[in-house]
């Protein structure tokens, strides 16, 4: 009986130690491959801080878009000039540019509402409504750079549809080519990979006047450590004349 009790106590002690250690390792403090596999996560828990790999290529699978015949070089040059002016004057970026930022995105999901909050003053928060299955009627909606986003779950994938973009405001260019218009529709599929450590977002743009076929690309974000805290926003200052020189022709020495 005494042996049984001792074994039980030892087993309980081992459980307590394991319970204490595993979550700590899961937070990454133990370093890469430092211990037991992380506990299973809720496959729908997208909340957290997420970041694209910093080298500008990893985590991004962006094929070239197949553009509609009506998209002329002149139109593309016009969009390019529009966006260059937007960057110069720190325009509120909007979709899809917001999702491409290299600073972390704070994504928070509740039952009815989801937000994607960047750390950049020229990128206002994005809001995704999970409590409605229809877009706001166009005559009641003030079109914006982020459009109107509604989402629903298909299994463990959050499917978000966005439309009603502003015709001019924000950065219009789309990764891989093309641009958004008020008629564009974006469908994004958010899914956790690698036991919740990677967030995959597959984006598909449709707009018959811009794309010959739907344009799809994929982004993969890494989850930051649980103890990460949002930093103050990076500030883009349109009135900073030295910064403005960055956009004014070939590089030259700033005195």
């Amino acid at each position: 009986m005494k042996n049984t009790t001792r074994r039980l106590i030892r087993a309980a002690a081992a459980c307590i130690v394991a319970t204490a250690i595993v979550p700590v390792l899961a937070q990454g403090r133990g370093g890469r491959g430092a211990g037991a596999p992380a506990p299973a996560v809720d496959p729908k828990d997208l909340s957290g801080y997420w970041e694209l790999p910093p080298d500008g290529h990893d985590g991004r699978n962006i094929p070239r878009a197949s553009l509609a015949a009506g998209v002329t070089q002149q139109k593309l040059a016009q969009i390019s000039a529009h966006d260059a002016k937007g960057y110069r004057w720190c325009a509120n970026l909007g979709l899809p540019n917001l999702m491409m930022l290299t600073r972390p995105l704070d994504i928070r999901v509740s039952t009815d509402l989801m937000t994607i909050m960047p750390e950049y003053s020229a990128a206002q928060n994005r809001w995704i409504y999970l409590n409605r299955d229809k877009h706001i009627p166009a005559d009641e909606y003030e079109a914006g750079v982020n459009g109107d986003s509604i989402g629903h779950w298909e299994g463990n994938t959050l499917v978000v549809e966005t439309t009603m973009f502003h015709p001019d405001n924000g950065i219009l260019g789309i990764p891989g080519g093309g641009f958004r218009t008020p008629e564009s529709k974006l469908v994004e599929r958010f899914q956790l990979l690698k036991n919740g450590q990677v967030l995959q977002v597959i984006s598909t743009w449709t707009d018959p006047k811009v794309f010959r076929t739907p344009h799809t690309y994929e982004l993969r974000y890494a989850r930051l450590l649980r103890d990460y805290e949002a930093r103050p926003n990076a500030v883009g200052d349109p009135y900073d004349e030295e910064r403005a020189q960055l956009f004014a022709g070939p590089p030259k020495q700033t005195r």
Binding site: C15, A20, N92, D106, V109, S110, T115, Y120, N131, V235
Partner: protein
Amino acid sequence: MKKLIGAIAVALAAFGAAVDGQQPATTAIPNISGLWNRLDTEGGGSYGGIDLLFPRAQLLPEVAAKLPPEQDQGLGNAGTITPPVVRLPNGAYLTPAVAAAGGPSPTAGHCNIGGGGFGGVDINSAGMEIIASRDEVVIARDGAAGGRRIYMDRKMPDVTRITPSAAGYSVGRFENGTLVVTTTGFAQGMTGFGRGWRERETQLTEVFKLSPDGKKLTITYTWNDPKVYVKPHTYDISFERWETGYVFENYCDASIDHPENYTSTRLVEPDSPSGKK
């Protein structure tokens, strides 16, 4: 033996919950997530007007001496109808305070500069959004880039490790069906309402309480600091849930030479009799 097994099971369960940093399963978590509109909009259009509806903070005399004269965002005394403004050659208007400082601040208040996030803990905008996730509650307002974070899974750090800011550092917990938030580490300055004052070590406690039907939210603010207040400064702000609405964007084209893109504080059109936009 059964008692021993039971005790171990209870200990394991409690220990696991504590390590994981989550709320115990029995804690009622109110659904405070959503879009909220302030109900006390009487006096809106002028922060001074709204402020008159709040109880006045009872400050220690030496702290009260730090407060600036009662003004409405630098545009004149609260309630002033036609505060003076200074006109620039480009047609923009500067507030007297900004004009006296030599012009607009190079870093604050312009189009898209300064973040547009949550400047502090007080909610001045009529539109507020809350999303409560497992380990963080975020509060933002319409047209904002970023927002205020309330950390649900950690303890308050020593105040000396907190970079002072208007929003301070907030930790929260769900308690008796409410969200209780403690904040400290403030930058020195006035509180948003009731002409209170905050120092780095001032502590703010906020209690977020939902009505039984979930359609109304009341936040009770209590500012406490024995070096500042004669007694804690307490007030409520109430909100109603906006179930059918959406978050407004705020677009500003800095390339346009327009008064709203140029001055660093709220503008008043001189020909507006009420001074309200």
